[in-house]
Amino acid sequence: MTVGIILGFTIQNKTKIVKAIGPMINIAIYVLLFLLGISVGLNETIINNLDTLGTQALLLTFGGVMGSVVLAFFTYKFFFKTKK
């Protein structure tokens, strides 16, 4: 990834290549999630426990979002809010 960033810097002005990167990343992500899907489908333990996994996932989302939002309340109040 570091190699990629450095290479990216040096070819910043080659617009054609730059434009091709976005779609290429998308394709790589599609392939990888497709492969992840396959291994999940092959894994009976995961398939049988999807509801448990989903519940845990949602609880973590709730924690992450609420933590961020509550802290953001204070960040806004003390650093960003302008007095009118």
Partner: protein, 200 residues
Amino acid sequence: MKDSLIIVGFFVLGIFIGLYHLLPQIFIETDFSIYALYILMFLVGVGIGTDKKAWEILKNAKLKIVLVPLTVIIGTAIGVSIVSIFLKDISLRESLAIGAGYGYYSLSSIFISQISGEALGVIALISNISREITTLLVTPIFARYFGKIAPIASGGATSMDSTLPIITKFVGKEYAIISVFSGIVLTILVPFAVTFILKF
């Protein structure tokens, strides 16, 4: 939104193919995903390096706006830590790694499944997709009761693209640049943070 559906579509298609054993044996025996991941890492690196606008925004940022992604990082860590007390099957370290996806579900779930197995990868995928969906749906309420930074914080890494329109609609255009900045910082951070949390 269209992109999200395509990504989830590929994942679900994969599940069905795996579930009904519709694929040649070689796929099951060889793990192609690690090579695909190397390619992806490289491409993401090139993408970050070539993104002139992103570097421009990072360079010209006022010191104060660094507080916004920092808020997301600390807030998320505190939130998931509290939740992880109640989750018997997931360790604190794993919870923190899932949180450190900051809504960037495609990359974070790929990394996490590669390091800690598919089960945790699936949790990361669902959890981070939900973060994006939550932000899309609840932004008006967050903006009203928790201030103008709150929707940006909720969006995490997605506040630079998929959730940007709804965020600017409710907190105003003057916060768009902060939203994009925070999203860029977190997006770049995701692969490093996830790997670091799980490996050290």
